[in-house]
């Protein structure tokens, strides 16, 4: 039996992951629900003053999206490791890094895209000025895949361990500091009417680098953690 071509395998894996996610639609809604709940808590905690809310809106939305992604990252590889299909992927003739990249892409589509869709709604709940809205969406479009890629490497490292919840947060925090700084920095600059292209460009550069390096690192980490 000859192995299928690499693009065909990637497409098949992407289709499989998206189908699996679609069968469990409730799980896709969970991060969004979490983000909405946390956002509604903020005005209660600090007061409904529009000026104050507008000042912190950008940063709050980014941190909430980051936490929602962190929550969903935990089961990025878990199902595949439990039912043994991760071993099959690792034994497949196609490069593991590409297959892992497909899994991360599927995860981004199912977990982060819904968050990006609701993010403007959340931001307007916090009175973010409408002119900053496009910058918010652009920054999220660049920073969420970056976070998913970085997080996937760490999830892969914890794949063979017993507990991972808090540990994952502890390990992701140092990695996501620059992402949060640049993403929220772009938004703050846009709100103050300053040029916001530079931080967005830095985010893009980081994403380009992570797109190349993170799948390779993730594959290496999976091989270490699964001990093959």
């Amino acid at each position: 039996m000859t192995p299928g071509s690499t693009p065909a395998a990637c497409a098949a894996l992407l289709r499989r992951d998206l189908t699996l996610a679609w069968r469990r639609r409730g799980d896709i809604a969970m991060p969004v629900l979490y983000a909405v709940i946390v956002t509604t808590l903020f005005p209660f905690a600090i007061g409904p003053e529009p000026a104050l809310l507008a000042r912190i809106a950008g940063g709050v939305v980014f941190v909430i999206v980051l936490l929602a992604i962190l929550l969903s990252l935990d089961h990025l590889f878990r199902g595949d490791i439990e039912d043994g299909s991760m071993e099959l992927l690792m034994l497949a003739p196609q490069p593991l890094a590409l297959l892992v990249a497909m899994k991360i892409l599927a995860h981004w589509i199912t977990s982060s895209l819904p968050l990006i869709v609701v993010a403007p709604v959340l931001a307007s709940m916090l009175k973010l000025p409408p002119e900053a809205m496009p910058v918010l969406v652009i920054a999220l479009l660049l920073s969420t895949p970056l976070l998913c890629l970085l997080g996937a490497v760490l999830v892969a490292l914890t794949a063979g361990s017993r507990r991972s919840g808090m540990l994952l947060a502890l390990m992701l925090l140092p990695l996501c500091v620059p992402v949060v700084i640049f993403a929220a920095g772009a938004l703050a600059a846009a709100q103050e009417g300053l040029p916001w292209v530079a931080p967005i460009a830095w985010l893009g550069a980081g994403l380009a680098m992570a797109l190349v390096l993170a799948p390779l690192a993730c594959a290496a980490a999976l091989r270490i953690a699964m001990d093959t």
Binding site: G160, L175, V177, P178, I181, F182, A217
Partner: protein
């Protein structure tokens, strides 16, 4: 000609040889650390004059700066050992990397605490989001993440290799964090505070500082070797040489 150096290093890669070597070196390194530390403290606290700007508060420098230096130095040693361990799968290198992390975390914690205690009288605040402080805090989180990841695995060897990978990821990350926080501060027009008051340091202040740096280096060697010995006892528990140590007279073996 100098063939014995690689040969000796090769022999040192064997756990029983390293265990004995570490046991022999540890008391000397610890004694030297105590001696140098005492000399440096005497020089720093008694001999060195008070700073004309900061008064006596600057004396925190004699533990703050050596600790800050060690927090980065230990990360460097750990990264090299982790790389060697991952590439050549040398067990001792993995153990050295993993047992360096708690010592590095200890020095990072000291740096943060003493820096905060120095900052309060000098800048009037316990904490400022300066690039150096933030990087040091992130470094502490990375150290804790490495220790946590190592201990979250059932299999020590597997945990060591996963955590060694995290060490290398962190090595890439720390400069990026430092750069981005720098950028962030200039955007936010952060308070421009120079971390060190005296711009050029006098000789009577310099020699205790350098002695203390040597003392912390010796301390690191002593602490690392004690940790490696404890780790080897646990991970090599089934081997004959550990059994001999366990069943031999425990009094003969200095703890």
């Amino acid at each position: 000609m100098a063939n014995w150096v690689p040969l000796w290093l090769h022999r040192l890669g064997s756990p029983p040889v390293f265990y004995r070597f570490a046991g022999a070196v540890r008391p000397w390194a610890f004694g030297l650390a105590l001696l140098l530390g005492a000399v440096a403290l005497y020089g720093g606290l008694v001999v060195a004059p008070a700073d004309y700007q900061q008064g006596d508060a600057y004396r925190i420098i004699f533990i703050h700066v050596p600790s800050a230096w060690m927090s980065l130095f230990i990360y460097g040693v750990m990264a090299v050992a982790a790389f060697i361990g991952l590439v050549w799968r040398i067990k001792i290198a993995e153990v050295v990397a993993m047992e360096s992390a708690p010592v590095g975390a200890a020095f990072t914690l000291i740096t943060l605490v003493t820096g905060s205690l120095w900052g309060k009288p000098m800048w009037g605040t316990w904490w400022t989001w300066d690039a150096r402080l933030t990087s040091e805090l992130v470094l502490l989180f990375i150290y804790l993440g490495i220790v946590g990841l190592y201990h979250s695995f059932e299999d020590r060897r597997q945990g060591a290799r996963a955590a060694a990978f995290l060490v290398l990821v962190g090595a890439v990350n720390v400069p990026i964090v430092h750069f981005s926080v720098n950028w962030w501060n200039t955007l936010h027009q952060g308070s421009t505070i120079r971390l060190l008051g005296p711009s050029h340091i006098e000789a009577s202040m310099l020699w205790p500082l350098l002695t203390m740096m040597l003392a912390t280096k010796c301390y690191y060697i002593a602490s690392l070797f004690a940790r490696v010995r404890a780790d080897l006892i646990a991970s090599e528990g089934g081997k004959a040489w550990v059994r001999d140590i366990a069943l031999g007279q425990p009094g003969n073996d200095p703890a």
